[in-house]
Every structure is written in structure tokens, then in C-alpha cells.
Symmetry: C2
Amino acid sequence: MKNRIFIKDLKDNFTKEVILGGSVDARRDQGKMVFFDMRDMTGRVQCVVLPNHAEAIEIAKTIRPEWVLKVTALVNKRPEKNIKTDVLNGELELEVTAIEVLSRAQELPFASDAELNIDTLLDYRPLTLRRERERAIFKVQDAILYSYREFLKNEGFTEFRAPLIVGGDAEGGTEVFKFEYFYNQNANLATSPQLYKQMMVGVFERVFTVTNVFRAEKHSTTRHLNEYTSLDLEMGFIDGPKDVMKLETDLLRYMTEYLKNNCKKEFDTLGAEFPVIPLGEMIPSMKLSEAQKLISKETGVDCTTEPDLQPEHERWLSDYAKSEFNSDFIFITNFPRKKRPFYTMDDEEDEGTTKCYDLLFRGIELLSGNQREHRYDVLVEKMKWKGLDPEKFDFYLQAFKYGLPPHGGLAMGLERLTARFLNIPNIKEATLFPRDINRIDKRLSE
Amino acid sequence: MKNRIFIKDLKDNFTKEVILGGSVDARRDQGKMVFFDMRDMTGRVQCVVLPNHAEAIEIAKTIRPEWVLKVTALVNKRPEKNIKTDVLNGELELEVTAIEVLSRAQELPFASDAELNIDTLLDYRPLTLRRERERAIFKVQDAILYSYREFLKNEGFTEFRAPLIVGGDAEGGTEVFKFEYFYNQNANLATSPQLYKQMMVGVFERVFTVTNVFRAEKHSTTRHLNEYTSLDLEMGFIDGPKDVMKLETDLLRYMTEYLKNNCKKEFDTLGAEFPVIPLGEMIPSMKLSEAQKLISKETGVDCTTEPDLQPEHERWLSDYAKSEFNSDFIFITNFPRKKRPFYTMDDEEDEGTTKCYDLLFRGIELLSGNQREHRYDVLVEKMKWKGLDPEKFDFYLQAFKYGLPPHGGLAMGLERLTARFLNIPNIKEATLFPRDINRIDKRLSE
């Protein structure tokens, strides 16, 4: 739009006539005058149409929420008593001299500040995403993506694109969507870029990707999605899993600083608090067996023989990390061999466990990672032990056959990260267009 | 790896003892001494093992290409007569004092510089991607991705994640992969994020995404893929398609500058030349009808009644742009209504045509874009005219029903962009793990 200025720049244009483009947020007809709030991608401003602008006020009386306007206006200082400090454009008001309607909107099905249940929120997603709360969530998501990539670029990582059409249920352990490829050949939708990022370690040593992945699990919970965005990274030449945990610590620090500097308004809108990472080289860490002993000792419930943490124990450990280390995060390492995928390296110094970790954040598992088995012969044996057929993995195994450095990595779900950082209980609210057992955009039962 | 330094930093460490990690590129056993080249993610260096380091030379005699090593070495200046200028580390040589083998490699199926046909290149992808030429291609791809996002961020765009599981063959006009979702409901794999990015214009005005998309077309050519990466963007409050063409011009300028500053070595490796964009506000542009008249006049072949450009005419127009404007690019606009998707806006000033454009680059269509129809009623009519059922699009149509600004956008295939910029004839060479009618990693016939 020619000569358009953004709402955030109004304050530099006092007494000037400006051109704006935006959507109507709210309108109050006060008889002779019409007030309305307009928003664009940079902010919001109050507009007033006075009776002396006859053509403009005639149009102003017809406009409704979500109409899209081109507005010509004078940037006026508000009278001293009407100034709102701490609000964007709280010191100014637009005196509208001309309005052009670019797009009309039908009457809205609900008020823009109505409390909506999750199904209504999702049924009307193209509309509800325009709400302040929703825009804040996805601005934060954009910032998470940006800071993730920026940090890794600074650390020498190369971005790569992983394919999502895959030939086999490579990793096992999860349900996959299957479909017919050409010549009656079966294909699957990728559940992770795991095997590709390991192959890429042989090419660029340090690699990352951001990609959709798919799970065909029939869950209907506030924690599961059938399609989500995975932030994956992998690095070569590590001495052990601690190198990956150190990188993850630095990544979360970088991300948190970036969010503090760029998303304060959004965190305020959502009433969320920035993650707290304690000083020191690394987020506190504890072996699963140590954690279980501690929980048993402190709570009296013996969980020392369990292969994994119960949700209440994850919460207990997070509380412990908070009070003991003033940390919102804690690593739990050395989960048993049986429960981890074939590519996880065994920890020979702690029989039956692997060089893996989970990262707990405010009571919930945020992500997991591990050192991978890079030795070809050992990896093939491990596959067999897991009941997998190495021949089906011969493409992937080439990377190992032809030499791969010791390496490790991790994966985080973008939507989970967004939801946890913003303290949003249902992950679907942190997903633009969630797919679940009952929904692809619209409810499937319809 | 503790205390590891990167090969690119050796030149700052003359006379010091350093620790390196990397892969063996080549080895020459000269009896008493062993020479080998080692590479890491930052470069390549020549190493020599002298007989006085007994343990190291014993190991050095066993090492083979692609073995992964940890090496301790002294950074020596080369004798004056052996210095190679213009080569990384051409002035130094590593005197290896200790070697630790981190990973062995089996004998390679071919020499690292062997000319390979496309099938062998892809059959051995985890290995062939390590070749200098392949690493150069995907370093450039990484730089294209980075500069694309960086430019758009500077222009106020917000990144979003589009779902790839979709409910209908939304756009029509292309074959889709179908699969069974839950409760016997059918789902499709997305052929583009088009409808979602338009919905997102109502939320953030300017949006972009990078995502895999899928085409079930049974092509087997050097130009087609069944899965590729789409760089999509969409912007609101445009006055016409020229606003998008202007943005695209600026984006390509930014990208070209970024590549010049960061990928000179890679372009040299591939013998490729940087794109040339002429000075001036915008890449030259021409209506299809004008282009056809010009071609007819200059070549004597009448193509003025054709709805599209033939490949030879795309080449002719590119040559014309090069000689007339010294431009590797030329926009061709106003293709006929019939050949463009339903969401393309008609150009009322040029009957029967639409507000769309293709961008030709060195003889081939690089991308296309257009202004979209943002008026709800007109869009619904256009759908019907195209034989589509608006009810099937009711989720998408909400964005229009509730007010959407005039908007437009474009999409580019990352692999095509990479191949064209680097003058690589077969798009599969610019795709890490290409999927085609005959291949998912391995050949399907196997």
C-alpha cells in the first residue's frame, strides 16, 4: 500500500497526515462521533471520526469488527488527562479524514474477548488466531524458531532438509501412517528425521533441521498431536552425552535471552514467566537411579525398580531442582537400555543403562537426547537385540560402514516447547492447525 | 572433543601442538613417512607422520579413506618451495605426534573423485554426500534458506508452520498422495501451504514458511520430484502484484549478495556464476501477450494464441532479457484465467488474464506468484466457475468471510532454486534424499 506507515511508527509522525492499513478491532458509535480501534501487524491505535469529515463519518457508521480499512488520518496528541502511559500509542489519537473499505466482514460468531472452549477455538481457527492471546502464542513460536536456528548457526551447524516419505518404520516403537506409493509399493510418513540427521553427521558434522513429523497414535489428550514440528540437531566428535547437554544448556540460555529481549509483551499477555536457568556451565543433572533413590528417601514411595519416571515423580524432581538449584530445568540421565531406541549408546560404566538423558522443565519432560552408537558392528548387534532386521537399514548403515565420528543429538517438539514456556495446558492451543484423532481443521465426525 | 581446534583455525596456531578431529580424505604411504589429508567441517589440511613418532606411524600405515581420527600434531610452516597460496592451509603442514582411531571405514566402493551416474550417486548417498561437490551444493542450499528467512524477517514477516496432513485435494490440478486417517477417514498429503498462508495473512499480514510438500505425479524427469521443499510467502495490504514482484526482486538481490559473501568457494567448486540482477527498482517485466508478439515478430513462429510459454520460448525470452537488460531474470505476467488456480485474482484491465507472474531465470521458470482474490463473494464465484465446491472449503473461506486485506505471494522450490543457481541439470543432485517414481532412498525395484 503506497505511502502506508505502520502503527508502531505513528509516534514519529505527530501533526502529520498519514495513511494506514489495518483491521477494525472494536467500534463505538457515539452519535456525532465514531471511535474505533484499528490494528495492523505492528500494533493498535485508537481512531476518532469527527462530524466535520462528512464522507468519512458516513462510512465509519457502517464499519464493523474485522473490516479491513485504508485510513487517512492526522496524528494528534491526546489531551493530557486522556494519556495512557505504558500502552503503545497511549499518548496519541488518530483523527480520521478519509476511510476506504478494503474488505467487509460478516458478523462475528462471538466477541473477540469471549472465553471459548477448545473445539470452538479450533473450529474457527482462521478467525480465533487473530485474537491477542493467540497472536502472542505464535509470535513466541516464531521467536523460538528464530533463536533456535540463530544459536546453531553461530555454533557452526548446517541446516538440512529431511524427507518425510520414508520406506520403512525405521525406528519402531511408534505407530506410523502408511500409504501407497508408486507400483503398489508401500511408504510411510516419517516419525522423525533421526536416521537422516545421523547420516548428515558424516557430511557436515553438525546439522539441524526443522520439520513436520507424524505419529499415527490414537491418543486424544492435551499432550499429543498426530503431526508436529520437530526441532532436531545432531553433532559429531563428542566425548560423551555431556557435550550435547552442554550445548542444550547454551541453546536454552540463548533462547531465553532472545525471548526476554523480543517477547516481553507476549509473555505479559499470557501471564507467563521466562524460564530460569541457573548460573554455571550446565543445567543440573542426575542419574535416574540417583533420582529414584532420592524420591524414595524423601517421599517414602519406593520407585527404584521402575524403568521410567512417573508423572508425579517428574513433578517432584522439578520442584527439587527449583528449591535446590533455583533451576526450572533438570537433566535425568542413564535410563535403561530396554526402553531406549536401538541407536542409543550403552553406558558401559553403568551396566544396563544408556548414554541418554531427558530434560525436565517445570514438572514435565521437555525433550530427550542421547549419544548414538557410532560403531558399525556394535550397532548391527544392537539392532538384532532389538529384534530389527539390519538388512532393512542398509541404506542408513552405509553411514556407519564408511566411518562416522562419535556423535549425539536431541529433538524437541516446537509446540510442546511453546506450550511449556507459556504455561499453556493444552498443546493444541500452541499448534496453529492441530491434527488429532478427531480433527483435520474441522471435526472429522461432521 | 576436549580442546579440539578446527582446521580453519590452524593458521593461528603456528608452532603449537593442537588436537584435531576429522576424516581421512586420502593417504599416501611413502615408506618411512606417511602423508594423509584430513578434513573436518571447516576445511582440509595435509598431515605428515614422521618415523620418529613410532606409535603414530604404525597406526598411520593402517588408516584408509573415511576413517575418523583424533590427531595430535604440531603446526609447522611448510618449506618456502612447497607453499601453495590461495589454498586453505597451503602455507602449513601438520606433523602428527599421535593418532587415535575413532571409527574405521570399510573399503570404499569407488574413488572419492570418480565420475558417477545419477543412480550410483543416489544409491550411495550417505557416502557420496561427503564429496566436495556435494558438500558445496548443500552448503549453498543452507545459505539460500538462511538468506531467505533473514530477508523476510527484516521485512517484518512472521514464520508459521503449516500442516501437511490435509483433508481435501484443496487446490486441484495436481495428483496427491492419499492415506487412511482415523475412523476410515481419508486424508491427503499437502501439495502446498497455499490456503494456510492466506489464512495467516489475516493474523500477521506478512508470513512465510519453509515446508516439505508432496506431488503424486508419475514423472521421471530431471525436473520433477515427488517430495520437495517449498519456500512460501504471503503479504497483505498490497496495491497489486507489482508489490510482490518488487519484494521478490529485493529478496533475490539479498540472496545473491549473501551467496557472494558466503559461498564463493562453493560456486567456484561447481563452476557456477552468481545470478545477475540489473540495477533499477524491479527485475524487467513483460505481459505474456507482449512477450508472444515479440517472439512471433523476432522468430517468425506465431505463438500469440498459446495459453502458456513453450520451453524454447522461455529460453528465447531469457536470452532477450540478458542482451536487452543484462538481466538473468525476467517476469512474465498476465497469464490466462483458465490456466491459473481459483485463488488468482482476475486482471479487469486485461480481459481474460490474471494478476499473476512467472519468473524466468536463465531459460527456465524459477517460480510463480500472484495477487489473490480477497473478496469473499468473488472468490466463491470463482471456485464454482472452476468446478470446485465452496462447501468443501468452508474452513478456509472463514478467513475471507471475516475480512482479509488484498494480498499476494509466491512459492519457490528450494531444490529447483539450488539447481538453477548452480547450473546443475538434474534437480535430484540438488536434493539430499530425492523421492521419485523409482526411488525412496533405495531403488524401489530392488
